[in-house]
Symmetry: C2
Subunit: 310 residues, 2 copies
């Protein structure tokens, strides 16, 4: 690989420059510009054997040309304000990666694993998250929702416009309420059907048109586990690019009562004492029950509650 | 109008029943079921002369039939859990409303005016907000974004599915960061080009893929008014169906500095002392400057700050 002339980290999104086609065109061809590669839903990374070090694998325009890769639809992620080095993401399908390129792009790792391992700098995880969200959205707006004609990517991938009727479309983010339901002394953790064995987590659901965060938390908690929520306290947010969610994390204080589970959404849910949650956080639970890792806002919510007195 | 047998307020969204086509079909035909009407982007309401009383105008299935209105694509808003009375929204285009129907549907009022006047019960404003958000979304997904074929409405309007490839689409909500930028003693209020004369408000912007709330607040504040934000404090959320935004309201503490305005987004922005903001809230500003009304989260943010000491 070529030496990297200037680092693109930290990255400024430079959203005002997205509409400047001449700027973006020149930046895309610049020798210092770098491209991260998303193949299907996995990223090309550089990692050591112990896997306690991971960086995004960044390619130059010359390298892309060597593999006859078309960078015109690369997604503009931003520039480093000091060095001016630009960063784009190139999203490829598995079948577009031939043998020699596949060799260069080893290993390919999915973002959930990258985030769970915690070995990649936060700036790079955020850039990968942006790229994954944007790339997933592009797949769902190849045609115009109004007239059905083909759309084209514009503004470095931050807009698509219908070639026939001109209707614009912008990247989608789905707000989700995610809440740790508790009664002060105990909290409710649940298993969705798709979870790995013995993992429990907080409940969550998409916020709907016409409701605010508190109303969504109350509705979802009643629907999924049958409890009425008294007080809702906001804690934090997190982008979650699976495929393009925006998680809004809360504590939801409920009146203790038997749980009534929605069988479609919830496999199992239980009240857990604070001491039992502490064992899960330490990985010492006697039944081997465990929680999502530090990369997930569910972990932040559970840890915040477990380490506080209400 | 027919007498209303049972009120639909308060409304339970009954989201688990949306997939039950037999339930929805029977409810749609029930004599007690009511329909609110959205014509273009205005709602049929009942109001008194003083306009300090406003309710949604609700029609029965029999009334719809009398005007040969097709209720198959009516949007399911929920039921009252006690009476079982169902509520749907019917979205019509202006040209679909003939003379006799237009007479019945007087007055037609846009939701911004309804909300600003503050004369309609909160339950009904929320139902109208849900209907407006959903109806706007349906207009943008008439065709499949993946293959371009026609889609059909399902689950009472909470899903659309491609008739050709089966790709599903779900209602869209765009998370927006809206922030009162302040330095403790003064706050920044701004005018966007589309604002009514002499109105100032907080700044706001769409949250982007890959960033959390704090990052979005910092980026938008830097882009729109050129200030760096230190501390971000969450305050409240609000659905805002113009067309389908989800506002997340914050206080953003910035270091006082000259403002650098984005000329595309901001017409004017100024630092305002707390005492001057108090005059604006009372409607007594010497230059006639004013703020959005109590229905808007911008008002909540400004009032919260103006009435607190930091």
């Amino acid at each position: 690989m070529n030496a990297i002339e200037g680092s693109c980290w930290p990255l400024d999104r430079m959203s005002a420059q997205r509409r400047d086609a001449a700027f973006l065109g020149a930046l895309r061809e610049a020798a210092s510009t770098r491209f991260l590669l998303l193949v299907g839903d996995r990223f090309a990374i550089v990692s050591n054997e112990a896997r306690d070090f991971a960086r995004l694998r960044l390619l130059s325009r010359a390298q892309l040309r060597g593999f006859a890769l078309d960078a015109r639809d690369a997604l503009f992620l931003g520039c480093n304000p000091q060095s001016g080095t630009g960063l784009f993401a190139l999203a490829l399908k598995e079948h577009e990666v031939d043998e020699p390129l596949a060799g260069l792009l080893q290993p390919l790792v999915d973002l959930r694993s990258i985030a769970a391992r915690g070995a990649m700098p936060a700036d790079e995880v955020a850039a990968a998250s942006t790229a994954k969200s944007l790339a997933a959205w592009h797949q769902t707006v190849r045609c115009c929702g109004r007239c059905g004609a083909a759309t084209r990517s514009e503004e470095g991938g931050w807009k698509r416009t219908c070639r026939a009727c001109g209707q614009p479309a912008f990247p989608r983010l789905d707000p989700v309420a995610i809440m740790l339901v508790h009664d002060g002394e105990r909290c409710v953790l649940a298993r969705e059907p798709r979870f790995p064995e013995r993992m429990y987590s907080t409940i969550a659901g998409f916020i709907e048109p016409g409701e605010d965060l508190e109303q969504a938390v109350r509705r979802e908690t009643r629907e999924e586990i049958g409890l009425d929520v008294a007080r809702v306290t906001y804690l934090a947010t997190q982008p979650w690019p699976f495929p393009h969610s925006f998680m809004i994390g809360c504590l939801a204080e409920a009146v203790a009562a038997p749980l009534a589970l929605d069988p479609l959404e919830i496999d199992d849910a239980r009240w857990f004492a604070r001491s039992e949650v502490a064992l899960m956080l330490r990985g010492d639970h006697p039944e081997g029950l465990w929680l999502p890792g530090r990369h997930a806002i569910a972990h932040t919510l559970v840890r915040h509650w477990a380490e506080s007195r209400d």
